[in-house]
Symmetry: C2
Subunit: 287 residues, 2 copies
């Protein structure tokens, strides 16, 4: 990789720029931003060699292009960018939903005969947003999911794997639809539940929050994420997420029956399984 | 306070011992443990001046007695301890449910004519358990809820407030029943939901957890708590918690309808309210 073009200097885009500059200092990094002020800020923060609100100068000569913008804006920007992308460049994105993004973007670059597209989803982020929260280590030790689709250009998957490996990710591969089901379960549904819990507690008795410990704080951290971004993510994965939410509601109804019925053995079995599940499978591995 | 007797050297009991030794080094601290090995460990770890599985020597001369054992064991131990407690001693506990504990314990000490009881609930803890996880700073900056009941001895509330203030707590006061409603909402329900989420994700697609980011880890941290302890807590607060869970399920059903119906404006409004609620009311205040 000799020249990386990043479209969108938000938390992920700016962190990617910082990570690549730290690990591949000879790679040119250019940044496109929608707003003049954001382009100026990216340049001033030293995350790139050049920044512009014009796609042409940002994409010219880039062998790697990464869309780091909200998923709802991707197809529109892809249409504008496609004619300006170097023919053999790797093109990828960081969207949290993949099947609709891949279905929309892959044909745009194929039709233009410019750019070899593959969907990516680095499982990095924070409830904080924007360049100010960016860091070169954001991707270190996280999983980057690649979602190759039928008709993908030869070599695109290997190039994308090399990009995300460079910034510290562990690479996994899933078809776009399987990605959306898996990530619906481990990211979108938890976000929805955390937000629902805040919403519910505030509506029921906001004063009670004065008494909360760290449990409620941690359980709801992700509810502080950007509402616009998360509305797009949840809405884009609507079909999958809706079915998962309904199944989760059905499970809560079972648990409610066990509580009401005084079935404490069942309650303990459920809490034991949950502890084992979390300790074995979810708890952060020691670095 | 000249002599503090702690019944149960678990996470809370051992942390209380450490905190009092750090802040009131002239106060004698004695510890009762159910198991010989636990008493020996408490002594060896240096958290107290004396430890025993006998209540008599631990309680003799103590002006303050704190029950730090699982709530299901409290009434039984209180019956044994009452005749041995110094008549004017402050007696309190750290149970996570208050109305049933206060209803059971207060009459025991009153009947014995020994000990002035008031319920306490320091909102401190961790998903880790036991003396090994204890620390002198566990209570610093947390809220300690006092739950005075009708017929409470004069001065008991002030003494309990002084105890928890000494170890760094901010004192709040609520009647036992209001405590259980408020803490059901900000602690017991979140625990149940976090555990349900682990249980659900593991049942649906355990492999998907391999892809999870920090969101799922934080959202489910409290599900790693002790299943025995939490079964008792949730079961003891059954009536309150069951009603709260059913109301939460009803709210999730509304959200499910908004998702299925493509009502993205409603979804965004809900996510925005959740972010505002968390940022304003739940997020940890900077220390």
């Amino acid at each position: 990789m000799n020249h990386l073009a990043i479209l969108g200097p938000g938390l992920l885009g700016a962190s990617l720029a910082l990570a690549v500059r730290a690990r591949a200092p000879r790679c040119r990094v250019t940044v496109w931003a929608r707003r003049e002020a954001a382009a100026a800020e990216a340049l001033q923060a030293g995350i790139c060699d050049a920044a512009s609100t014009e796609l042409g100068p940002v994409l010219k000569g880039a062998d790697t292009v990464v869309f780091c913008i909200p998923i709802g804006a991707m197809a529109g920007l892809a249409e504008q960018a496609a004619p300006l992308i170097e023919p053999g460049a790797l093109v990828t994105d960081v969207g949290s939903v993949k099947a609709p993004v891949v279905d929309a973007l892959a044909p745009i670059f194929e039709k233009a005969g410019r750019g070899h597209f593959i969907g990516s989803h680095p499982m990095a982020g924070s409830e904080q947003a924007g360049l100010a929260a960016a860091s070169a280590g954001l991707f270190q030790g996280t999983v980057a999911l690649l979602t190759p689709h039928p008709g993908i250009a030869p070599g695109a998957q290997e190039q994308a794997a090399a990009l995300w490996s460079l910034v510290g990710c562990n690479i996994r591969t899933l078809p776009p639809g399987e990605h959306d089901a898996a990530i619906g379960l481990v990211s979108h549904l938890p976000h929805l539940i955390a937000s629902s819990l805040v919403d519910f507690v505030c509506a029921q008795n906001r004063d009670a929050i004065d008494y909360c410990g760290n449990g409620l704080r941690d359980t709801t951290r992700i509810a502080s994420g950007l509402p616009e971004m998360w509305t797009e993510i949840l809405a884009t994965n609507r079909a999958v997420l809706g079915a998962q939410l309904d199944a989760f509601i059905a499970r809560l109804q079972e648990i409610s029956r066990d509580i009401a019925g005084g079935n404490d053995a069942k309650l303990k079995e459920f809490l034991t399984n949950a502890k084992v599940g979390r300790d074995r499978h979810i708890k952060r591995k020691t670095p």
